[in-house]
Every structure is written in structure tokens, then in C-alpha cells.
Amino acid sequence: MSTKVKKMLFILSKATIENAYAAFVMANGARMEGIESEIFFTFFGLEAIQKKKLEHLRVATVGNPGMHMPTMLGGLPGVEALATKMMKKEMEKLDMPPIGEFLEILSDSGCKLWACKLAVDMFHLKREDLIDELDGILTIGDFYSRADQEGCQLLFI
């Protein structure tokens, strides 16, 4: 079975656990099908590649109708942490790796990981604040130039 998609380029702009996993599962799934994949982490998406923050991503309990929870309840202290804990437990049951291990898997699988230069500057981050597996810090223009062949798809998450 061959596919017309040759390369998947993802832009992850959010720090919620569900968005990070969406990007990671799709990027890994691409590699598993023999499709190239790369992820560009920008704005709050950078939390997923900051050494100190990546294991503390949370699920959004406020403003997320999928949680089926009154917005006021979602904002109460501890609710977000509890929902995150429950979600992580379910993920573990499905053998989904934690964020840090997932990034290692992606990097070993040949998925390129890039940080957005503008967002890195804005949050006053240094290279050493970011994971060792990172392939570099790019401008959006540099990232577009990675779409260098036919069959490239770009996805914003």
C-alpha cells in the first residue's frame, strides 16, 4: 500500500496534554507508515519541549465541552490536576508513553523536532532549557522551507 503523503509537518501551539498527544501520535504514526514527519513547537507548545515543564502538561477542564463538566466546576482547585491524573492513567493502560519518553521515541524514529525562534525569544528561553533531542531553533520561514517536496502536508494544532 503506498500513500501520496510523503511528509507531515506539524505546528504545535498549545500546551494542553490532549493537543501535545494529538501531534505526537500523528507524527509517530506517520513515521510508522514510512512517511517523514517534523514538529515545530511554538508559543505554548514550547512547554512540551521544556525540560522542567514537559512532564507537567495538563488537560483543559475549563472551556472544553468534551469534558462534560460545568465550566465553574472545572475551575475549582484540584479539578484540573485530578482530570489530568485520570487521563494519564487511561493513557498508561493503552501503553501510551509519557511526554518525555514519547519525544525520545519520536527523535529515535527520525521525526525532526524544532523550536520556534520567535516564541523562544519571547519566553526568554535558552537552548539548555529545551530537550536534548531538539534538532534546532528555526524561524517559520525556515520551517516552511522544510516542505521541500511534493506530498507535504502542514497541520496546525
Partner: protein, 102 residues
């Protein structure tokens, strides 16, 4: 459906995966590998045997499992079976294609 592999009639599904593992041997294995542009080495067989062992124990296969296997790391796994390592290696190993998304 039936397919001629290594001059024998072998039962395969529509994607070419073996239906009956008892029909698998190294000859069949090397023919399927050839179709996938893989030239089998002893290293390939070590991985294939690991996959078959996991399948026998009915343990689901995933890329995370490969990382933890102690047999092969992810980088080498991608090098051994380029172009979709888990789906290609399981086809060569004569076991079903993993259904997991991870």
C-alpha cells in the same frame, strides 16, 4: 487468498500477511523480505524471532515495546526495516499487522 511464495502456495490476507503461521519458514521469510526490499541478516532474524515470541505470548506490539525490548533500539529498528518498520517486520515475521496507533 493464496499466494505463491518460495514456490509454495501460502495463505495470505489481502495485504499479504500470512494467515497461518505454521506455513512460515526462513525460505518464505526471505521471499517476503525481498518484496519489501529487505535483505535478511542474522540481526534481522533476531528481531523477527523477538516479534514472533511476543505474538505467541499474545502481547501487543508497539514502538514503545520495541524501545523496551532490549533486543533492538528504535533507530536500528528503522534502519533494519525502512519504510514503516513495524508493519514490514511483522509481515516478514509471518504474524498479523499490529492494530495499535502507537
Amino acid at each position: 487468498m493464496k499466494k505463491i511464495i518460495a514456490n509454495r502456495e501460502i495463505d495470505v490476507n489481502e495485504e499479504g500477511y500470512l494467515v497461518e503461521f505454521t506455513q512460515w519458514d526462513r525460505e518464505v521469510c526471505e521471499c517476503i523480505a525481498g518484496e519489501c526490499n529487505v535483505v535478511m541478516t542474522e540481526r534481522h532474524y533476531e528481531v523477527v524471532e523477538y516479534l514472533q515470541e511476543k505474538h505467541k505470548k499474545e502481547e501487543p506490539l508497539s514502538i514503545r515495546g520495541i524501545k523496551k525490548s532490549g533486543v533492538v533500539d528504535i533507530k536500528e529498528f528503522y534502519n533494519l526495516f525502512p519504510g514503516g518498520p513495524l508493519k514490514i517486520s511483522t509481515k516478514i515475521a509471518g504474524i498479523p499487522k499490529p492494530k495499535s496507533c502507537i
